[in-house]
């Protein structure tokens, strides 16, 4: 079971990343051109994709549902029957 403070911090992280998607400050700007050709609005969202990947890596590291790793088929279920058939 995750500690409450950890759960709050991770929820906050996801919320902040979600809010950062609405980059109103880049709305009407084309410049600067990142790498000399990428308009800033496009470069920002490309970087945002990388940030999303990092966020997911943080969630995997600190909020991974370890309790699901040992799930076994229930004896009475169809999954259990398939398991015993093999």
């Amino acid at each position: 079971m995750m500690k409450p403070i950890k759960a709050i911090l991770l929820t906050l992280l996801v919320l902040v990343v979600y809010v950062l998607h609405q980059d109103f400050w880049n709305w009407k700007k084309a410049e600067p051109l990142v790498f000399g050709f990428l308009p800033i609005g496009l470069a920002y969202h490309a970087a945002y994709s990388v940030l999303a990947s990092i966020t997911m890596a943080v969630l995997v590291k600190f909020a991974w549902p370890h309790h699901l790793e040992n799930v076994k088929p229930e004896p009475g279920s169809s999954a259990g029957q398939e398991e015993s058939d093999h």
């Binding site: 079971m1 996801v14 990343v17 979600y18 998607h21 609405q22 980059d23 109103f24 880049n26 709305w27 009407k28 700007k29 084309a30 410049e31 051109l33 000399g36 050709f37 990428l38 308009p39 609005g41 496009l42 920002y44 969202h45 490309a46 945002y48 994709s49 990388v50 999303a52 990947s53 966020t55 997911m56 890596a57 969630l59 995997v60 991974w64 549902p65 699901l68 790793e69 799930v71 076994k72 088929p73 229930e74 279920s77 169809s78 999954a79 259990g80 029957q81 398939e82």
Partner: protein
Amino acid sequence: MIPVIVILLYLAVITLVGVVAFRRGKNNTEDFFLASRSVGEMVFFLSIFATNMTAFAILGSSGQAYRQGIGIYGLMASSSGLVIPLTIFLIGTRLWALGKRFGHQTQVAFFRDRWECDTIGTVIFVLSAVMLIPYMIISIMGGGTVLAHLSDSGGTNTPLIPYWLGCAVVAVVVTLGVFLGGMRGTVWVNILQTTLFLCFGAVAVLTISHALPGGFGEYVTRLAGDPKTSFLVTREKMPPQTFWSYTLIPLSSIMFPHMAIMCFSARKVTAFRRTVVLYPIAILLIWLPCVFLGVLGAATLGKVGDPDGILLLMLEKYAPVWLAGILGAGIISAVMGSDAHQVLALSTMFTKDIYQHYGGREKYGEKAAVYFARGFIIVVTVAAYVIALELKEKQGIFEIAVRYAFSGFAAMAPVMIAALFWKRSTKWGALAATVFTAACLLYFAVLQRTHRPGDVIWQIGQGTEAIKVLFLNPRGDVSFWNGFMTVVPMVFGSAFCMIAASLVTRPPSQASLDKYFPPRKQPSMPVPEPVHNA
């Protein structure tokens, strides 16, 4: 001619993979539909990504970028890069565990068992099938269009592979792969497909950048400097309400039957780890080059007849012929990867949720169920092919249906979240949310057919102070509250129905609640030592 040969070679390889998978398969439904829940980590990532990527990711994204500019990436790609992995992480892993524990192979089977109700499963089955079928038809239409386009190198309007033949080729190859190989064949093919279309963007950008005199920067500066095209490199014409509304659309992903079924197929839950981290990067690799090249098309090619073909036109102009063939195979991969999963998902749902659920398995046995599934695959593909030919000119109707299907599946997300995480949720809540979603879809589809772009259906107040509550925007899409997309009221309305109806109805039995929410084990109390009296 050369691109056609390359594509035909690619299609032959895909069919061969299906045949090999057929030889490795077992004759039971768990193996046919879920590859015996044995899909490993990397294959799982490549396959789940292929499931979600359609031709739209390549052709549609560049076409939309040509029309609306760079905002398309933030609108459709970067929000998906956060929301889809999040839903896979929170919902997909739980679905996998429930499938492993109780043998569920579809969402419907889970809903029926969770809320002890057959009807709710059947209602959700019908709604899901209705929303999925147009998606499948449009995939076949897309395949036919792409093959016709690629084989018409001279622009003569007499392609080597006409539309009807292109649709047939895509339908036959997908059917053969799924019919023979089931889930195993489909995921094996996905390895090749995803690798191909992940490389597509980088190769296309490199090739075109070499061919353009002066480099990309010069063209982008030219677009920004011209008042007629400057909106393409900013978002000045994109309403912020639309931009935010789109962040709700990716909630649909996990509710698509083919995505949920993919989640059941993983060998271990650890397969999800790599997938959720790599997913946003994979989206970046495909969408960024396509959106950028779409915008660049406006500067290099000027006005074109069919903006969705902008990438193909650029490849035709700037890439060598053989490379255009390989890139064409990448586009066809995106079409067929998702189409195969849609066909398989429909077959899985129909066999498991209807045929077996209503006694087919007891009556005819397990092997017959696999034959039934294969028969269903042929029937559904032939029907989709015939519709794709008959309604070629009415492709727009299917595009509208697919657009609404995304909102519809997104509005069903609260049902799944409640089933997994809210003990107090009831079948009546789920039914209310499902009926609300279906009613909204029907109502908005009628509005779209009976009104014109710009029509106001309902507004509060008059003049400049008026709030347009329900109207059709200039593009003809039904919009809500001065510019939000219909997905907003649908998702929140569905969540409200789920909560309100659950709170006023009786929860499932304690046995079901204990099954899905097992009581946490208390730490064992120290047992006092028995006192021995001497």
